[in-house]
């Protein structure tokens, strides 16, 4: 598993739209991601955050516009963690190493890298347990390092702590932090303002499928330029 | 993992492969009545001991036996349907037809004899009585030798029982044993070959009612499947079987085959048929 000859960044999203059942769900979204910073896509329910993430990651084809990476095979250097962790019916270690197995990494190397990943997530003691007996928080940490073990340049996370209690949320956020410090760019969606404040370097504020505002995190939280952004921070914008 | 799979596959196929090697065998297509009587269990071990040739018996209805012969799926036939046999040979599917043995058909029915035919030896009269009284009759209805013999008797009696099919005349479309099972369960009449009847174990209240009519004569012949038509037919061992069957050893073996003290088949090789 080697790093790309050149980075897959910058990502250029141009006039991205998505239509389904006659409804426009993503409407001409454009932005660029130059460096592997921590980007938080913020917005109320139904804003289209999950959809935007999946469009960027390539899980869904857009109806219009384009998602342009700087490399011919960008998918190999991205990974995604979903709101509800999907675990294979195998052990914890087997789950973590699954992506490596798919890429043909040998058993010895896999074992070493799985151990490293488990340590990062604090799951070393649970290595031989069936993955499905873990608590949701532990499962989400597993999903995180299962993605990280592939050394993606960008990690997409779709409301990763939406179903977790505060303690588990803290544990997950610390793993995200460790992953970022190791060099991976983070693109995370959330409705949780506090989480956004904790984690974001920059904010993409989404409302009803449109990118309303884009700003460095400090500036956004000090005073959002848009009406919707301001309303959202105050807690007035429900959807 | 792959090596384990390969070994398992070999182990699984081995028994099948082993069977195909080994002693010479021929395939004999015969009828269920002959098989059910137990004759082959008595005869074939003797032939095998004498010749080293194994005989695989496929027992089906006569119609199916002829079909198997036509298609070349057997080497030799042992059947009891003179009309069908003649057609088979005439069409060039079989050669060297030889008489082997005979027995007879018998009319069986409820011990209580509701139609009053017990003890008779006139099959045609018995059938007339059955028709007159609408007594239940179970026909094989499968175009077998037995069925054709039965139809000949109805014709001789001037009756067409198919018009009453489903009322008192029932066509089971099955083998002898299945038909007897049905007749026994329903307390009806049937025409059976003596071999099957004597070895049949589910008689319930059925008894032998009519026998001895020469129209009930049931001859068995052996026919070689025509090797000119089917080149793969194992001529030599098949002929060896036919020679043994019609020779002194085979005929003696047929003669001393009994069930509950009664002989089921009477050897008659040498009485040639056209």
């Amino acid at each position: 598993m080697t790093a790309p000859a050149h980075s897959i960044l910058p990502l250029k999203v141009e006039n991205l739209s998505y239509r389904a059942n006659g409804l426009v769900l993503i409407d001409s979204v454009s932005f660029a991601l130059e460096r592997p910073v921590r980007t938080v896509i913020l917005g109320p329910n139904g804003a289209g955050k999950s959809l935007l993430l999946r469009l960027c990651h390539g899980l869904i084809p857009p109806s219009g516009g384009q998602v342009a990476w700087n490399a011919p095979d960008p998918a190999r250097h991205q990974a995604m963690v979903f709101q509800r962790p999907v675990l294979l019916r195998r052990g914890v270690a087997a789950n973590v190493g699954f992506g490596l197995r798919l890429r043909g990494v040998g058993r010895a190397e896999r074992r070493a890298r799985v151990a490293e990943a488990l340590a990062l997530a604090g799951l070393t003691d649970l290595a031989d347990r069936p993955a499905r007996v873990l608590s949701v928080g532990e499962q989400q940490r597993l999903a995180l390092v299962r993605a990280w073990i592939l050394r993606p340049e960008i990690l997409f996370l779709d409301e990763p702590t939406a179903n977790l209690d505060p303690a588990a949320t803290r544990a997950v956020e610390s793993v995200i932090d460790a992953i970022h410090r190791a060099g991976t760019g983070i693109v995370l969606t959330t409705q949780d303002l506090h989480q956004a404040r904790r984690l974001a370097d920059q904010i993409l504020f989404l409302h009803r499928g449109r990118l309303i505002e884009r700003a460095p995190a400090e500036r956004f939280f000090a005073g959002p330029a848009s009406l919707e952004g301001a309303a959202f921070i105050k807690g007035d914008l429900v959807w | 993992m792959k090596r384990l799979l390969a070994m398992l596959t070999l182990a699984a196929l081995a028994p099948g492969l082993a069977l195909s090697a080994g002693a010479e065998t021929i395939t004999l297509a015969s009828t269920t009545s002959t098989e059910n009587s137990g004759l082959f269990a008595h005869l074939l071990p003797r032939f095998e001991a004498a010749s080293g040739i194994g005989v695989n018996v496929v027992a089906v209805g006569s119609g199916a036996a002829f079909k198997i012969g036509e298609r070349g799926d057997a080497d030799v036939l042992l059947v009891h349907d003179p009309v069908g046999e003649e057609a088979f040979v005439a069409a060039g599917f079989g050669i060297d037809r030889r008489a082997v043995m005979y027995n007879d058909f018998v009319v069986v029915g409820p011990k209580s004899d509701p139609a009053g035919i017990a003890g008779g030896s006139d099959a045609v009269a018995a059938f007339r009585a059955l028709a007159d009284q609408h007594a239940q009759f179970y026909s094989r209805g499968d175009d077998s030798g037995t069925h054709r013999a039965e139809r000949r008797i109805w014709t001789a009696a001037g009756i067409d029982p198919s018009t009453a099919s489903g009322e008192w005349y029932f066509e089971t479309g099955s083998g002898m044993g299945a038909t007897l099972n049905t007749a026994a369960a329903q307390d009806g009449h049937a025409l059976a070959d003596r071999g099957t009847w004597l070895s049949f174990k589910n008689r319930r209240d059925l008894a032998l009612l009519v026998a001895g009519d020469e129209r009930l004569y049931n001859p068995y012949s052996v026919i070689l499947v025509n090797p000119a038509r089917h080149l793969h037919v194992k001529q030599a061992p098949a002929r060896a079987f036919m020679d043994w069957l019609t020779g002194p050893d085979g005929q003696a073996a047929i003669d001393d085959f009994t069930v509950a003290g009664e002989r089921l088949f009477f050897p008659n090789a040498g009485r040639s048929k056209e």
Partner: protein
């Protein structure tokens, strides 16, 4: 009713005495059905998974067809295979008619749709859960099939057992392509037919009871195997 009692007694007697002919027939029945089911699994498992996972024109038709073929009458399969393997048929030169391999072939044709259709449903249900993750990780089609088959293994085992039940219980196919030849192609179900036509109903029943006991034994063994290897659920 007395026939049933006699049947029970005979069944016990056969099992206890381990009569040589009886043992031979039982082993042959198990051999034919097991190999047939193994073949059906080798074909049916990946086939079912592929139909579940991949979009191709006519996909829904294939799924419906597989479901429908689960109801293939054994005697029709037997007749078709007979016509193909007969000397007068296209594959006659192989001389395979009236043999154990012919019986295995007929039974695998019978069982493959069962395994494939049940696999398709099981994998389809699991795919709902796994699809995004597998695509996100960049799994190739063959890898998706392998992962889903392994993760669904417990449900798929039941599908295979359903196939085994069908194979070991049928008589129409093996009778036609095997010929019920003594010491060669005779199996339990064809023996039951034979003894019934001989009027030996207690023996036929007894053999039938043995067949049921065998089926219980096979399923029991598989169940125990699963329990021993099963992972605990959260």
């Amino acid at each position: 009713m007395s026939d049933i009692g006699a049947g029970f007694a005979l069944a016990l007697g056969l099992i206890w005495s381990l009569d040589a002919d009886f043992v031979e027939i039982v082993l042959r029945s198990l051999y034919v059905s097991t190999i047939a089911v193994a073949l059906a699994a080798v074909i049916g498992l990946p086939l079912g998974a592929a139909v579940a996972l991949f979009r191709f024109p006519g996909r829904h038709f294939v799924a419906v067809l597989l479901n429908a073929l689960m109801g293939l009458p054994p005697v029709v399969v037997g007749l078709s295979v007979y016509l193909v393997l007969s000397r007068a048929g296209p594959l006659g030169v192989l001389g395979l008619l009236f043999s154990v391999p012919a019986m295995i072939l007929a039974q695998s044709i019978l069982v493959t749709p069962i395994v494939a259709a049940l696999t398709r449903q099981t994998v389809e249900d699991l795919w709902v859960e796994y699809a995004e993750l597998m695509r996100s990780l960049g799994a190739r089609p063959a890898q998706m099939v392998a992962t889903l088959l392994w993760d669904a293994r417990f449900s798929l085992f039941t599908a295979v057992l359903a196939g085994f039940g069908r194979a070991s219980a049928e008589v129409g196919a093996v009778m036609l392509v095997g010929g019920n030849i003594d010491h060669l192609t005779r199996v339990m179900t064809t023996t039951i037919v034979l003894e019934t036509s001989r009027g030996d109903l207690p023996l036929a029943l007894g053999l039938g009871l043995v067949l049921i006991v065998l089926s219980l034994a096979v399923n029991g063994a598989v169940y125990l195997m699963r329990e021993v290897t099963r992972e605990p659920v959260a």
